[in-house]
């Protein structure tokens, strides 16, 4: 089954974002990504799954040119946006070119007001009137935060902060919206609301979405295509519904209804011996 999936995905399809054989190192020594290739098609909804330390956030830092903050470097490979190489260019230019992210842990500016946080999201744009009307649009999109627009963002609840973070990224009017661990630490209901919103943005406005998630169930349910990252490598990829029914994925990422789930000890034992390499 898994073999079949891999064979299907080896056909390169030109997309909005193409990451080819990306290799990233931190501090010139720690290799975080080894030959990662992913594609987000125009208008696509793609998720990247993986456990802690798989390299998901590194992948985003590489795409958005923020590796420098963490002393990371792209050692090999290419990142293309609509066929144009963007790897290593200025982070501000990448936002302007159409990629913006909701960073892991939200990374709001806690002492700035909600409205100021949203405004920062429009830093790559010039037209003031459009920016102002977009801010109002964000408050329509997230009615919960509308009443708190003059409040300092640090006072908001986790869910509200995540809404501001999504709104802030949307203020850049990105062609590709990247969400890093959107569901982390949030109540299921809010996660559901946010995912529904992403779906709506994806369908209505054609914004491509790249989802980085630990919550595999949600991610597979909403995305159309998914990659599974483990210790810096893409170990499996395919259409989300196919992956969802894949035995290995079910077992390791969806809390396993497989045969090995019978006894905890066997799972552990099986996990140790199991290798994704095919």
């Amino acid at each position: 089954m898994a073999v079949q999936i891999l064979n299907e995905s080896t056909e390169p399809t030109p997309g909005l974002l193409d990451v080819n054989n990306l290799e990233v190192v931190y501090n010139d020594s720690v290799v975080a990504l080894r030959g990662v290739s992913i594609t987000v098609p125009e208008g696509g909804f793609v998720s990247v799954l993986g456990t802690n330390g798989a390299g998901k956030t590194t992948l985003i830092r590489a795409i958005t040119s923020l590796l420098f903050v963490h002393k990371g470097k792209i050692r090999d490979g290419e990142i293309e946006l609509r066929g144009k190489r963007i790897a290593g260019s200025d982070s501000a230019k990448i936002v302007k070119a159409g990629i913006c992210q909701v960073p892991e842990g939200r990374m709001l500016f806690p002492s700035l007001t909600v409205e100021e946080n949203l405004r920062i999201g429009s830093s790559s744009r010039r037209n003031r009137a459009e920016i102002n009307s977009d801010i109002e649009r964000m408050f329509d999109l997230f009615p919960q935060i509308a009443s708190r627009r003059k409040d300092v963002a640090g006072w908001l609840s986790g869910g509200e902060q995540q809404m501001v973070a999504v709104g802030r990224a949307l203020m850049a009017r990105p062609a590709l919206l990247i969400c890093d661990e959107l569901s982390l630490g949030l109540a299921p209901q809010i996660v559901h609301t946010l995912f529904e919103l992403l779906k709506q943005i994806n369908q209505d406005e054609g914004t491509s979405i790249l989802l980085i998630e630990q919550n595999a169930r949600m991610a597979l349910q909403y995305s159309k295509y998914a990659y599974i990252l483990e210790t810096g490598r893409v170990v499996l990829d395919g259409p989300s519904d196919v992956l969802e029914s894949n035995e290995d994925v079910q077992e390791f990422y969806l809390g396993g209804a497989g045969e090995a789930a019978e006894a905890y000890a066997t799972i552990k034992h099986y996990k140790k011996r199991k290798r994704w390499l095919l």
Binding site: V69, E116, R119, I120
Partner: protein
């Protein structure tokens, strides 16, 4: 009581200059994480340029202030792109040493250009005085206060309500998040250096009209920004203004009551006391040092 009011009045005038100097110092630190030990030299440069513009060339004072502000700001921006930019992300220690190097270079340049002799103060401002009861306030003090206040207020509005001011606050708070949102940190750093230097330069022009002599020790006034900034909180714009006023007033009071030698003792002594009680200053952030 009269002595007290008299000293307080001149302390406020002096303190407003300190506030302006401290504001520039804090601004550079807040957005770029660099303690700029060349800040006093920017001020001294402003004073010496004022000598040239006002005493030698006899230019209009308003024109001179604008021109000097422009020159010093341009120098600040140039320093960022030329020297500080490649050092972003390097250990604080080496960056701070570089600012000390810049200070030495500016000082050497002034020594070569103006020579080692001290000059008398600039007399470009109206020299009369205002009598209110027993209180005597020189016009110079009033103008000093007005110009500094105007500079501080203009900056404050700029910082709070323009796009670039907003970006400066965002970068100060979280560089990575700001960069992720399309803010160009380099542009923000350059603007911060420019404004920081401008504040020091204009303060230098004003102080040149206030002090007794202009010589190469004037940079020590820039060091007054240090206690002022520490008292207010090293990363707080409001704190810098308050700290400047506190240092100015207490310095004048100390000089008036105990003699001029007590100036420095009081400024730094006050800093010690405040830091003992509130190690992050009046308005500062508690956990200032971040990785």
């Amino acid at each position: 009581m009269d002595t007290f009011l008299q000293l307080t009045a001149s302390g406020i005038a002096l303190g407003s200059v300190y506030a302006m100097v401290a504001l520039g110092f804090v601004l550079v630190f807040k957005s770029t994480d660099v303690l700029n030990f060349a800040h006093g030299e920017f001020l001294m440069l402003g004073s010496f340029l004022a000598l040239t513009f006002l005493v030698e060339w006899n230019l209009n004072i308003v024109f001179a202030i604008v021109a000097i502000a422009f020159i010093v700001a341009a120098l600040g921006v140039a320093l960022h792109y030329g020297i500080m930019k490649p050092l972003v992300g390097q250990p604080l220690f080496s960056v701070v040493l570089v600012t000390i190097g810049i200070a030495i270079v500016i000082r050497a340049f002034l020594l070569m250009t103006y020579g080692p002799l001290e000059r008398g103060r600039i007399l470009a401002l109206p020299q009369g005085q205002l009598d209110i009861g027993n209180l005597v306030i020189p016009y110079v003090d009033i103008i000093l206060f007005l110009v500094s206040s105007a500079a501080v207020v203009i900056f404050y509005i700029f910082f709070k309500s323009t796009t670039i001011g907003l970006q400066m606050r965002a970068v100060a708070e979280n560089l990575e998040a700001a960069a992720a949102m399309g803010v160009s940190p380099n542009k923000v750093f350059a603007v911060s250096w420019g404004i920081g230097a401008l504040m020091a330069g204009v303060a230098g022009v004003m102080y040149g009209n206030f002090t007794a002599v202009i010589d190469l020790n004037l940079a020590a006034i820039g060091l007054r920004a240090f206690p002022a900034a520490m008292i207010g909180g090293l990363d707080s714009v409001e704190g810098a203004i308050l700290g400047g006023l506190i240092v100015g007033v207490s310095e004048q009071l100390a000089a008036g009551y105990f003699g001029g030698d007590f100036r420095d003792v009081v400024a730094f002594g006050l800093m010690f006391v405040v830091l003992m009680v509130r190690p992050y200053g009046f308005f500062g952030t508690k956990d200032l040092i971040r990785v």
